[in-house]
């Protein structure tokens, strides 16, 4: 159980035995050594070559295990993320769990009318404020693609919206390294300078290889930029099992792990000791419909492997929670998203994203987001485990109350009942009082909560001069791009 998750008071979860971990690691090393990868980036190919990789006549880069060992040795095993106010709020290490929303959905599912439409800037800003308000969500992402701005500016404007509408740390998608540079500039303005940002990171950059076994120019360029500037970064493939990776869970993990390790090697060659976030995800191809499906049982198993591997490697872990393949905010969405959230929590995944995704990432549902806030709170309560000290075993209370008595009047109950989990949305009233209060379904209560957050929640504002700096970065980028 050495690499199982360890939560409060004995709660642990394991997916792989030590032997299985070693088998996967060895399979991934074989893939990097015998099959190799294609690196579409000259500096990166050069770094690898100088580090000891072999480039064959077909242009494939073969990575020896020694390079992987060295990278695993130099990479930090933990990362702290700070909010916009400079407070540490996310500790990625061991089995700590944190949750956040997702990026770039195409469709906004209007929570009040059920209409599906393109996102506007205003709607994305509102959605980010909702994430800011929800206590169980630890970080923000870009939520939706802006349909009302020039396409080349989407990532930058999304980032400005995140800074303006939330204090929480972010996970960021950017199309290329110049975009990351602008995002870094905006973040530095918000937190008090480049040097501070470098040492107290406020955002994580999300980079991806293209499976199978390709390192595209932009991804690698961003990865190297992140290494240089100590921006925490992942190199997480989105496996489409049966298309871009083997169809079996173990095969998908072996290849995706090889890709992540290859990213790590490159990253550590560029700047040993820079923070790297290990992980990847999957959405297996449904072989009838050809749809990449989120949150199916195989994906939950894959994430179990990611988490055990991350502890085996002593690297912080990245994953998913609270998302679904369903087209609507319906029973399927709730079943899948809840399972993923509870499993992810048990697995001890350090940074889980995509809470609010439906339709496998094409649509965003704020109703699901609000519901998941409570599901996460339930899951976090479970992670506390069972306290078995004498005070909690309560033999004294049992003696006091005795056979046939009632604990309601006992001091032990009065002392400890507040430790019990409390709902924010679920209803524990009697039928008659529920009816008297309007017989509101969970869905109606979710909408009420959303409405009140949208009307009332005011995120901590940015200083006016910081807003100006952020707007200036946006303006300069527009000028550069000739928009």
């Amino acid at each position: 159980m050495e690499y199982a998750s360890k939560h409060g008071d004995g709660i642990a979860f394991r997916t792989l035995t030590l032997q299985q971990l070693k088998d996967i690691h060895s399979a991934s090393c074989r893939i990097l050594d015998e099959v190799g990868v294609i690196v579409h980036h000259d500096e990166a190919a050069d770094l690898l070559k100088k580090g000891g990789a072999y480039i064959d006549s077909k242009g494939r880069t073969h990575i020896p295990e020694a390079l992987i060992k060295r990278a695993l040795h130099s990479a930090p095993s933990r990362i702290t993320l700070y909010n916009r106010l400079g407070e540490p709020v996310i500790w990625m290490e061991k089995s700590n769990v944190h949750f956040g929303a997702g990026s770039d959905t195409l469709v906004y599912l209007d929570p009040f009318t059920g209409e599906r439409r393109d996102w506007t800037t205003e709607e994305v800003a509102t959605a980010i404020r909702v994430v800011d308000a929800l206590p169980q969500l630890d970080f923000v992402m870009s939520m939706g693609l802006l349909s009302d701005v020039d396409k080349r500016m989407i990532n930058r404007i999304q980032y400005a919206l995140m800074l303006k509408n939330s204090v929480k740390p972010q996970v960021v998608i950017a199309e290329d390294a110049p975009t990351v540079a602008d995002i870094t500039e905006m973040a530095a303005a918000a937190v008090g300078g480049r040097e501070k940002l470098k040492n107290m990171p406020h955002f994580v950059l999300y980079c991806e290889p293209t499976s199978p076994l390709q390192l595209p120019f932009e991804s690698v360029d961003k990865l190297l930029y992140a290494a240089e500037n100590k921006i925490p970064v992942n190199f997480a493939c989105g496996a489409v099992e049966g298309a871009s990776t083997p169809v079996t869970v173990a095969g998908a993990v072996a290849q995706a792990n090889a890709e992540a390790l290859c990213g790590l090697v490159l990253h550590q060659l560029k700047n040993p000791g820079a923070p790297f976030l290990y992980g990847f995800g999957g959405s297996p191809l449904d072989m009838r419909t050809m749809v990449a499906c989120y949150a199916v049982p195989e994906v939950l198993l894959l994430q179990g492997c990611v988490c055990d591997l991350s502890r085996f490697y002593s690297l912080p872990s990245w994953g998913y929670a609270g998302c679904s393949s369903s087209k609507d905010f319906d029973e399927q969405a709730i079943a899948e998203a809840t399972m993923f959230t509870v499993m992810g929590a048990l697995q001890g995944c350090n940074l889980m994203h995509d809470v609010f995704y439906i339709e496998s990432g094409r649509t965003g549902s704020l109703e699901l987001l609000v519901l998941m806030d409570e599901v996460i709170s339930r899951a976090r309560h479970i992670l506390k485990g069972v306290n078995t000290t004498p005070e909690y075993l309560a033999v004294d209370a049992v003696k006091r109350v005795g056979p046939g008595g009632n604990y309601l009047g006992d001091a032990h109950t009065a002392k400890h009942f507040r430790e019990k989990w409390q709902p924010t949305l679920s209803d524990f009233s009697t039928y008659s009082s529920w009816e008297a209060a309007g017989a509101k379904s969970m869905r109606e209560r979710i909408r009420e909560r959303l409405r009140s957050i949208m009307q009332e929640h005011k995120p901590v504002p940015l200083a006016p001069e910081v807003e100006e700096k952020i707007d200036a970065v946006i303006k300069q980028a527009k000028d550069r791009l000739g928009i």
């Binding site: 693609l145 989407i154 293209t210 595209p216 049966g242 298309a243 871009s244 050809m290």
Partner: protein, 209 residues
Amino acid sequence: MASIKDLTEFVIQADIEKVKETTAALLAAGEDPLKIINEGLIPGINEVGERFKEGNLFVPEMMMSAQAMKAGVDLAKEKIEGADIPNAGTIVIGTVAGDLHDIGKNLVSMMLDSSGFNVVDLGVDVPADKFIAAVKEHKPSIVGLSALLTTTMPAMKEVIDALKESNLRDQVKVVIGGAPVSQAYADEIGADGYAPDAALAVELCKKIA
């Protein structure tokens, strides 16, 4: 000896070895290669297509059957001299510039290929001029464009514009697809068709080729 009818069954069963054996035996016995293709192999893949549509068969099985059929066709082709080899049409396909998503595009390619199209796959991140060069070289009836990113959708229009500039637009039909793409977008940029998935892409191509 196995007959042409058995060949159809072997394609349905995706039994590559039996398809090869039987095709070779039939050819050796002097059977007409075109008849082997048209009455033995193609009916097999058509039946597989039907079963897939009815939901009784999955894509990987269809792919295996397609490979079995191709193995037979390749053997038969060697014996065809000069005569026209049956072919549903040529399509040049690729993921547009700036976009690296290729899983959907590959599926569309494979299904078109299985349906008898001659597919020229240009890969990912394909700039407009590469499409133009490929159209000049391969003279396809269809150009297929795939994009999964909102930011790369405009590159589809660029290909259409480049086709116009090169006076090639009226020689090809342009078919587009990918998650953010819609019929409305196809209409907006003047594409000839849009397909939401690979199976419908094949139907569309068959219709307009």
